[in-house]
Each structure stands twice: as C-alpha cells, then as structure tokens.
C-alpha cells in the first residue's frame, strides 16, 4: 500500500521497528552492567552508548581496554568489528543519496543493524516511495531502538553498581560475543572465516600490543572471501573435482 504522507511513512517505520526493542534492549542492559563492573561511571557508560551506538564494537573496546591493549589497537579492532555499517551505508545510498546532506548525516549517525535491515527491505519492496518518505520511514525504524538503547544502557549501569561481588562477570563478555557470533554461521565461508581466525588467534597470542587480534581477523576475512570465491566457482568444475 503506497504511503500518502511522510508522516504515515514515519509511523510505519516505528511499527516495523518495534519488535527490535527485544534485541537492542538486553544488549544495552548487558553493556551497562559490564561497563560499570569494568569501572566506568554511569556518565561514562551513557556517553559511550550515545556517541558510538554499536553494541559489538562497544563490547570489543571494553574487553581490549580491560586487557590493557594499546589505544590504537582498541580503536582498530572495535572499528573492524563495526565495518559492516560501511556496507549498510553503501547499500542505502541508492535510496537515500539524494536527500539533503544534514538528513544524510543524521541517518549516518543512526545507522545500525535494525535501521538498515528494515529500511533496505522496505525500499527494495516498495518502489513507489519518495525520498522524503524513505527518510521518514528510516528515522521511524530508529526511534524505539534508540530509546531502548539509551534507556537500557542507563538501567544496566544502575544495576551494575548494585550487583553483589563474586559473580563470575569476567566471562560475561565472552558469552555475549559467542552468542552474537553463533547465529552468523550461516554459510561454509562464514564457518571457515571464523575457524581460521580462531586458530590464528590462538597461535598469535604471544604477538605484542594485541596485534594478534588484527592478524587473526585479517586472516579470517581473507579465508572467508577466498572460500566464497572457490565455492561459487564450484558448479563450473567437473563433478569429480567438486568434492575434496
């Protein structure tokens, strides 16, 4: 059904974004708790969440700072975890690229998994939307996620200051990372990328300045990309060379 106003497009975005509060909320809460346990004040937790808005990158930075990695390694690793938003940016540009610059700047700040996934699917399916309607829909998808992200971080930070000592919270971050990674194992190249990254990371743990992480991550990326190429080429190969 085509939208008649930008307002109705905005509220459609809000509606479609609603289920994602159950995804963003618990992560924000967990970030607040873990960051407070790591020694951040409520103000620092909130600034972190407002300035960065990127769950996995925030967790990565927190872990590496606790490991006392050099600042530049913390930044490179956390940004690498967040590289996918550059892909999202690229994917949305054909639909939003003609909007005014200030709107695109706001949209960039709010670009997260949820706003990308919902908006891209919507714009692809509904070719009749105007650029202002698309922008309105996009901002609509961000509204609840944003409220929940900030609110959850605050609640988590508040809870974190009251938790009893002696909980095995040192392992909360690894569990959070594993739970984020597990659903990403969609294809064989994803599995190969992760497997190579794990092996290299374990071997490279002695490399100073936490550079082992960068080395392992790069090796994993290259392995995944190469595996994708080989597997795509598969149907072109004779059947007996297909299976190895």
């Amino acid at each position: 059904m085509p939208f008649t106003t930008t307002k109705s497009a905005f509220w459609a975005g809000v509606r479609d974004g609603a289920p994602f509060i159950f995804v963003a909320g618990p992560f924000a809460l967990l970030f607040g708790v873990i960051a407070t346990e790591a020694g951040l004040s409520v103000f620092e937790v909130m600034t972190f969440s407002i300035v960065v808005i990127a769950g996995a990158a925030q967790f990565t930075a927190l872990q590496l700072m606790q490991d006392e990695a050099p600042t530049v390694i913390v930044l490179i690793s956390a940004l690498a975890v967040n590289l996918r938003v550059a892909m999202y940016s690229a994917a949305l540009t054909p639909y939003l690229g003609r909007a005014p610059l200030w709107q695109r700047a706001c949209a960039a700040y709010l670009l997260v998994d949820q706003s990308y996934a919902l908006s891209h699917a919507k714009f692809e399916a509904d070719g009749s939307m105007s650029v202002p309607q698309r922008m309105a829909y996009y901002f609509g998808t961000c509204l609840l996620v944003l409220i929940v992200w900030f609110g959850g971080s605050y609640a988590g930070a508040a809870i974190g200051t009251t938790l009893p000592v002696g909980l095995p919270l040192d392992f909360a971050l690894p569990i959070a990372f594993l739970s984020m990674v597990a659903p990403m194992m969609r294809t064989l190249p994803h599995l190969i990328a992760a497997g190579v990254a794990v092996v290299v990371a374990l071997l490279a743990v002695g490399i100073p300045y936490s550079l082992g992480l960068i080395v392992a991550g790069t090796a994993g990326m290259m392995a995944g990309a190469q595996a994708e190429l080989w597997l795509k080429a598969d149907p072109m190969l004779p059947a007996d060379e297909d299976r190895q």
Partner: protein
C-alpha cells in the same frame, strides 16, 4: 582502566563509527563498491569476534591454562546459539552453565 584512554577510545570510536556510516551515504554517492572489497567486508565481524573470544576461552585459567567452567560455558553458548539462532537463548544457556559449573566445581 585509565580514564584518559577511555575518553580517547569513546570519542575515537564515535568519530570512526560515524565516518564508516557516513562514508557512502555522504561521500561516495551511489557508485558501486569493488566486488573484492565487499567480499572481504562480509567476513569482518565473523572473523574478528571469534579471534577476540578464542584466547579468552582457551587461556581462561591461571597461568594460561584452560578453565573447565569457562570452556563448558563457552561450548554451551555456541551450541545453543547455532542451534536456536537466538542470541538470548544462547546467553541464558551459557550463563546458566557457567553458574552451575562454578557451583559444582568450586
């Protein structure tokens, strides 16, 4: 944790993340990306996160040994996550396993 470092990381990450998000929307327009770049970008998170977590699991004990409670919790988290594709089922199962094993093994 050093507070000076913390603020550098917060604002460095903020600026860096914004630039990543703005890169194409703002600067590039709708020119297509080279295929090899997109192909590598697809595997960044799936490579970096396991690389980050693997040493934390395997060298979780004292002096670089493996702590069986942490290893057990990690295995359960991963298995439930792959099986259910549900982040929260995985976190719940992993945390539950960790508490249980810490309680049982002391």
């Amino acid at each position: 944790m050093d507070k000076g470092t913390l603020w550098v990381v917060i604002f460095g990450l903020g600026v860096g993340s914004f630039l990543l998000r703005f890169a194409f929307l703002g600067f590039v327009g709708d020119r297509p990306l080279p295929a090899w770049l997109v192909r590598h970008l697809r595997y960044t998170a799936v490579a970096i996160l396991p690389a980050l977590v693997a040493p934390l699991v395997v060298y979780s004990g004292e002096g670089g040994s493996t702590d069986p409670t942490r290893l057990g919790a990690a295995r359960v988290t991963l298995a439930v996550g792959i099986w259910t594709r549900n982040v929260f089922a995985a976190i719940g199962a992993g945390a539950g396993t960790l508490f249980l094993l810490v309680y049982l093994l002391g």
